[in-house]
């Protein structure tokens, strides 16, 4: 029973928040002090609902036709694991810490990238979220690369 309830919560997150931008639902789906594990260093941060709002909002601003497809979902009484694919047309400026990129102007390109997210839930509400996304694949499709060796950054001080 809990597994079904947990699955329903995560499917609402995908269908209503990611795909429709109904951000008010986040407070319903997440427990108040839910933890968000940062991509990369895995640092736990206790503001998952706010962070999800910003992160999903950033994707939807850059890809207004964003669609998340659930490829596979495994639900238990305590966890839900989702393998997903996102797709969208890059028509707005793109900034996202998970892609380590800020201020990429629209390219008009269609991008498709995947990932896996593990949610923990209590009483049908998400208490933690830990995700891994193919940020390199996304950037490559948008014409960027992540440097694998030191480069001369396009930044600097004037003195």
């Amino acid at each position: 029973m809990s597994a079904r309830r947990n699955e329903a919560t995560v499917r609402r997150l995908v269908d209503e928040v990611f795909n429709l931008g109904a951000f008010d639902v986040l407070d319903e789906l997440f427990a108040g002090q839910a933890t968000f594990y940062r991509l990369g260093d895995g640092r736990p941060i206790s503001d998952a609902p706010r962070r999800m709002r910003l992160f999903i909002g950033a994707y939807r601003a850059a890809f207004p036709d964003l669609h998340v497809q659930v490829d596979e979902l495994i639900a238990t009484d305590e966890t839900v694991t989702v393998s997903w694919t996102m797709q969208g047309t890059h028509t707005g400026p793109f900034s996202h810490p998970e892609a380590r990129t800020f201020g990429l102007p629209p390219t008009g390109r269609v991008a498709r990238w995947g990932g896996i997210t593990l949610y923990h839930l209590v009483d049908g509400r998400i208490t933690s979220s830990r995700g891994y996304a193919d940020a390199v694949g996304l950037l490559r499709q948008l014409g960027l690369t992540l440097a694998v060796a030191p480069t001369t950054p396009e930044t600097g001080a004037t003195s």
Partner: protein
């Protein structure tokens, strides 16, 4: 009085403004945001000055170009770093005596290194 490690992020793009604020707050900086030059000017005039201003240049209401003269005249020790997609960022930053520049799109490591250089 200057607040150590305080950064004012000025950009009309909600995503870049709020996400930069988020990652800098994660690193322990005190962060304030402004949506355009006029909003930033009000903050600079009414609040204790930050340690660093990250300034977008092309914004409605009051652009970064219009704003940047004020801190240069009134708060000459306050470093201002331009965030711009312009091709001539370095020359523009020099000409306007900005402390530095970040060329859009920039990556997270460059952002953190730049902020650390001026505000850590």
């Amino acid at each position: 009085m200057t607040i150590p490690g305080a950064v004012l992020v000025v950009d009309d793009d909600l995503a870049i403004r709020e996400l930069i604020a988020l990652v800098l707050a994660d690193e322990g900086y005190a962060v304030a945001t402004a949506t355009n030059g006029a909003d930033a000017l009000t903050r600079l005039q009414q609040s204790p000055p930050p340690t660093l201003v990250l300034l977008d240049l092309n914004m409605p209401v009051m652009s970064g170009w219009e704003l940047q003269a004020w801190p240069r005249a009134e708060l000459p020790v306050l470093p201002v770093v331009f965030m711009t997609a312009g091709r001539h960022a370095q020359e523009e930053a020099r000409r306007h005596q900005a402390a530095g520049y970040l060329i859009k799109p920039f990556n997270l490591d460059d952002l953190l290194a730049t902020v650390a250089h001026f505000a850590a």
